[in-house]
């Protein structure tokens, strides 16, 4: 699925490490205020205003339902992703690195066939297929 080299952005959600292809990332912002969206799925953290544009923000952890240790990731650092002409924000705890990697270093995850793993600084990073992840939201 991936060949040659690619740029990824590595970030932390609670105690877990995740990565995204840098191609989708538009910018990283810090916001003071997220407006809650009423009567929406729990993974909708809310909406934010970036230079006059209203952008929904998603809590990836709640979306992935990873072992339900859903703490309150009450963080204000947000990665803005451009996807199907829409902008979506993802709340993260910390952006760790932006780096170029060799795609053959990626390994198949034993648990999830859709996820690829990468070793970073002695930690396992899950490379997310963000397009597939977000697709159901637009339907």
């Amino acid at each position: 699925m991936y060949k040659g080299k690619m740029h990824i952005i590595i970030f932390k959600l609670l105690e877990e490490y995740f990565a995204l292809g840098l191609d989708y990332v538009k910018e990283i912002v810090c916001v003071d205020r997220i407006t809650k969206v009423p009567m929406s799925p729990e993974y909708f953290k809310g909406v934010i205003n970036i230079r006059g544009q209203v952008i929904p923000v998603i809590d990836l952890l709640k979306m992935l339902k990873t072992e339900s240790k859903i703490g309150n990731s009450n963080n204000k650092k947000i990665i803005i992703i451009e996807f199907q002409d829409e902008l979506v924000g993802i709340v993260v705890n910390e952006v760790l690195d932006v780096m170029e990697i060799e795609c053959d270093k990626l390994k198949q995850s034993p648990k999830d066939t859709n996820a690829l793993l990468y070793e970073y600084d002695g930690n396992v990073v899950t490379l997310l297929d963000i397009l597939n992840l977000l697709k159901p939201l637009t339907q």
């Binding site: 205020r33 407006t35 809650k36 969206v37 009423p38 009567m39 929406s40 909708f44 809310g46 909406v47 934010i48 205003n49 230079r51 006059g52 544009q53 209203v54 952008i55 929904p56 199907q84 829409e86 902008l87 979506v88 939201l137 637009t138």
Partner: protein, 697 residues
């Protein structure tokens, strides 16, 4: 001539006002160009035509005071056109002042304020008239010259040296004219008591003296006096009939400690040069009056001929003027339709009716088209504000003692009327910053090896659904490191944050509230809004702001602004500490409840209001939000003949909110019509409460 604005149909007046405003904008620009191209007769001619039409139109409507003023301006232009007097900066100044006054008179008609000419306008009228009366003036000067030999002036000792060096040719001419009318020239030295009301005192002093004669000049100059920038010593050179009248005027002013009045012999003022020059001119000037009349007649004929074919045009009307008010109403109605559409959509989602869906699709398509068309009707070219910029910049530059050329580009791009109105202030502020803090003083520029005259370029270009308006100057620029240092000093950022900042981010620091590069704010930019307000305003409009700057090369500030916008009049309410906007059109009334007025019947909370039982719902509950506070306010919404109350924590006020497109990801939530961004930058949902109760679980 007596005039009652009520006798003339309002639409004629409206038409006249809107037309004249366009003319005035063009006139301003013509005069500014004339200031640079002093020999360009075309400009004078064009200006003359415009003023002439204003005069004609005003005459038809019986607005005699406007006719008078336009006539005076016209006379000056004629004299200029014929080369009888040369175009000088001070003539342009007076003409511009005249046009400003004209604009004020026009505004006053619009507001149906008093149509009397005010004192100030009379003064300008006089100034204009005296300019046009060049012939008379020069004759008078010549006469003075003759008289001079016979007349003996008992000059009091002391010399007016301080004034002499500063008198312009025009001042001298004014003095000569005054003397010929039997006035005398006096130098007054004043020592004022050291009290605080400097601005008021200066005003009173100049006003009092102005009543008894003509003030030629003052030390410090008028502007500084008017700003209260003077010590307690003031000198004034003026023309007056009697020594005693000056004395009397001064005695009446309790803030004057000491005064000395000296009669000035005109010889001391070097009036001789002027007089001899004038004498030579007298002959040439003799025919001006006839010439004037002839030219005006020619032009009148010319305009008549030019107008006729227009009037005889085919019966087809391509354009009609529409009142902005009706356009706004139309625009708001479409906003309401959008609301209905979202309501229908919610209904259709809960009932699977294919006919409804089909009709709805059609409705949506037509609505979009209608919206587009009305949006297009509201577009006006940026030139609307660009036209005012050269004049504004000229005044700012003059005040700051700077020499600046202005370049305008892209004024033909059209934007929504409301956006045009809203960006005027931010744009003015950015331009003011460029003039005050950007462009250096001429000497400083020369020292740096830059051209003496600075340039401010304001350009607009389209980028999809946005327009980019840039204000660029070739001034001293900004140093990101300096800005960081200043921001740390002001406690806006920490040194560690500053270190990790890029140059672009550092430049954006100037948009933080409380940021100022100057320790003492400038004469011009101290006033008005700061860059933080500029940024907020632009973002409120759905736009953004970018800054580039290179030290000693210049600064560019770009505003990216949407071409169009849709607004909805809404009431802002607090629901479980989140703010929601409810369109005003769906609201019947808002009341505050007490324990007494609400009761429960069959599990349903109700409000007793004017013998009517209104069911109550809590908005926070409907929206499934956590709320433990008491909801005392009720927004009552009308539904057919029934009324329903929605409880909220608080009602925050009414606002024209800008509708933002809602992201695909959060579409289809019941009750949510759209989103908007509030003044403080937070996102707020626009809510239609009625859809909430219908589909409440």
């Amino acid at each position: 001539m007596g005039f009652n604005p009520n006798e003339i149909p309002q639409e004629y007046i409206d038409l006249f006002v809107s037309e004249t405003k366009d003319y005035i904008a063009t006139l301003n620009n013509l005069l500014l160009r004339l200031e640079k191209e002093k020999d360009n007769k075309e400009l004078i001619l064009e200006a003359f035509r415009l003023v002439h039409s204003i005069k004609g139109n005003a005459g038809t409507l019986g607005l005699s005071h406007i006719v008078d003023l336009a006539h005076a301006i016209e006379n000056v232009l004629t004299t200029l056109k014929d080369g009888k007097i040369e175009v000088t900066e001070s003539i342009i100044d007076t003409l511009l002042k005249g046009i400003d006054k004209l604009a004020i008179l026009i505004d006053n008609i619009k507001d149906k304020k008093s149509l009397q000419i005010q004192d100030e306008s009379k003064k300008i009228l006089g100034q204009l008239k005296s300019l046009a009366d060049e012939k008379k003036l020069q004759e008078e000067i010549a006469k003075t010259d003759e008289k001079k030999a016979e007349k003996k002036v008992e000059a009091v000792e002391g010399s007016p040296e301080i004034f002499k060096s500063k008198l312009s040719e025009e001042d001298k001419a004014k003095i000569a004219l005054g003397l010929s009318k039997g006035m005398q020239c006096y130098a007054i030295s004043l020592i004022l008591k050291d009290i605080s009301l400097k601005i008021v005192n200066a005003f009173t002093l100049l006003h009092k003296l102005g009543e008894i004669g003509d003030i030629i000049m003052s030390m410090p100059d008028f502007d500084r006096l008017a700003r209260g920038e003077y010590d307690n010593e003031v000198s004034i050179l003026m023309l007056a009939k009697k020594y005693s009248s000056i004395e009397e005027a001064l005695k009446g002013l309790n803030f004057i400690k000491e005064y000395r009045i000296k009669l000035i012999d005109e010889k001391q003022l070097d009036l001789r040069d002027i007089s001899s020059y004038a004498k030579a001119q007298v002959k040439r000037c003799n025919n001006i009056a006839e010439d004037l009349i002839k030219r005006i007649e020619e032009i009148q004929e010319g305009t008549h001929i030019a107008q006729k074919p227009k009037q005889q045009n085919t019966g087809k009307i391509e354009e009609i003027k529409v009142k902005v008010k009706s356009l706004d109403k139309l625009f708001n109605l479409v906003g309401e339709l959008v609301l209905i559409k979202s309501r229908l959509n919610t209904i259709s989602r809960f009932h699977d009716i294919s006919d409804l869906k089909e009709a709805l699709a059609m409705f949506e398509r037509l609505l979009t088209e209608l919206q587009d068309e009305i949006t297009r009707m509201r577009l006006i070219p940026l030139n609307h504000i660009f036209n005012t910029i050269p004049r504004m910049l000229r005044d700012m530059a003059k005040k700051a003692g700077k020499e600046i050329d202005v370049i305008l580009e892209g004024g033909e791009i059209s934007l929504d009327k409301k956006i045009i109105e809203e960006i005027m202030d931010p744009l003015t502020h950015i331009i003011r910053n460029a003039v005050d803090h950007g462009i250096e003083l001429p000497e400083e520029r020369v020292k740096k090896g830059k051209p003496r005259v600075g340039t401010v370029k304001i350009s607009a270009s389209r980028e999809g659904e946005y327009v980019i308006i840039s204000v660029e100057d070739d001034g001293k620029g900004m140093d990101p490191e300096e800005i960081k240092k200043r921001a740390i000093e002001l406690g806006l950022i920490s040194p560690s944050v500053a270190e990790s900042m890029s140059d672009e981010e550092a430049l954006m620091l100037i948009t933080l509230p409380g940021f100022t590069t100057k320790r003492v704010s400038g004469k011009t930019s101290g006033r008005g809004v700061g860059m933080d307000v500029v940024k907020r305003k632009i973002e409120e409009l759905g736009g953004s702001l970018e800054i580039w700057s290179i030290p000693d090369r210049g600064t560019r500030i770009s505003l990216k602004i949407p071409l169009t916008m849709a607004t909805m009049k809404s009431v802002l309410v607090n629901v479980a500490d989140e703010i929601y906007a409810i369109p005003i059109s769906s609201i019947d009334s808002i009341v505050k409840t007490t324990e007494k007025t609400t009761t429960k019947t069959e599990g349903q909370e109700v409000l007793m209001l004017h013998d009517e039982i209104i069911p109550l719902y809590s908005l926070s509950k409907l929206l499934k939000m956590n709320n433990k506070q008491k909801e005392d306010y009720v927004v009552i919404v009308k539904k057919k003949d029934k009324r329903i109350g929605f409880k909220v924590l608080d009602v925050l006020g009414e606002e024209d909110v800008v509708i933002k497109p809602i992201s695909k990801l959060i579409r289809g939530i019941p009750g949510i019509v759209s989103t908007t961004v509030l003044g403080d930058g937070r996102v707020c949902f626009i809510l239609d409460p009625l859809t909430l109760i219908k589909y409440e679980g």
